[in-house]
Symmetry: C2
Subunit: 195 residues, 2 copies
């Protein structure tokens, strides 16, 4: 019971923090996070040594859910090409949900905080993990240059992430999926090719 | 003389703040900015109502320099295609300089602060301005779908901006220019076509 309570306070804190980081930005104060989670500052600092560590944990948790949802599943029936395009197809869907916080905040953190901020490591890890997913699929499909293709796809994905909250850009459909398709064509990943 | 002094204090403040936003992140404190600029807090608040306004001014100033440097010049001799590709060719050069702060911080601000943060407007304006540059060049060159092309180019540019400080990604050449070239080909902007 004690263990369960510990877990649920941590989760409640993470949920509240993620929600506020998303709505108010990463500069949101500890006091506001505590109020939103309904816990005391003392309890927060028992779970996380600092707000920066809480942000790091929030990014790690959000990108983990993201990877779980988008890079697993339908592995048997889909071609590597389909699995890659699936990610881009779902970008628009998740753009306005919390799920997006994983990557849009990851890039915000990387470009908006100092080099030794604890959340940088979470953010870089999430990006590396997605790059690895692209690389593995590209290799499976026998891409002409799997390394290059994975870097190209990562660039498109990052651009779409960066746009996630630019209202002027988001108001139109993202061209990310079409560009990704063009890059897959160019690397020789045909839509009919199965593993 | 009084006017000149006012201008130079503002500039000194903006330079110091931009330097710190770049190195320490947008969460850097007012006290540190004042120390770095060698001015008092009182003077800072005489020039800018808040740190958020200072960040907004820093982004506006940096993206203004950026646009001046990259979207003007050689207008008579270059084709629209060359002018577009020039921007991507120079991305790697500026990636580790302050010039980059304009856009990498713009995206960090858009994805990392609340919707009513004063720096959001500066950031969105810079993005719209670059999008307009791409759109005008695409129209000049008679692109098959100038609007789509400008959105595609903006996506690539944003991806490269988001990567500006991801060390793992930056350690290799950015594929942005090659993807941009592919998109220009696909929109019918041939390398030989002059205005």
């Amino acid at each position: 019971m004690a263990l369960k309570n510990r877990a649920s306070i941590r989760e409640r804190l993470l949920d509240a923090a993620t929600d506020l980081f998303y709505r108010e930005g990463v500069t949101v104060g500890v006091r506001e996070i505590c109020r939103h989670a309904g816990i005391s500052k003392r309890t927060l600092y028992q779970k996380f040594p600092s707000k920066d560590e809480l942000l790091a944990a929030s990014i790690a948790e959000q990108t983990r859910s993201w990877h779980e949802r988008f890079t697993t599943g339908s592995q048997d029936e889909s071609t590597p090409r389909e699995r890659i395009l699936d990610i881009f197809a779902q970008l628009d869907e998740v753009a306005h949900s919390h799920l997006w916080i994983g990557f849009s905040t990851a890039f915000a953190v990387i470009n908006g905080v100092g080099a030794d901020h604890p959340a940088r490591a979470s953010a870089c890890q999430a990006i590396e993990q997605l790059r690895d997913f692209f690389l593995l699929r590209a290799e499976e499909a026998g891409a002409s240059d799997a390394d290059l293709l994975s870097r190209q796809l990562m660039l498109i994905f990052s651009g779409a992430s960066a746009h996630a909250r630019v209202r002027e850009v988001r108001s139109q459909d993202s061209p990310a999926k079409e560009i990704a398709g063009m890059l897959l064509d160019s690397a020789g990943l045909l839509s009919t090719a199965r593993r």
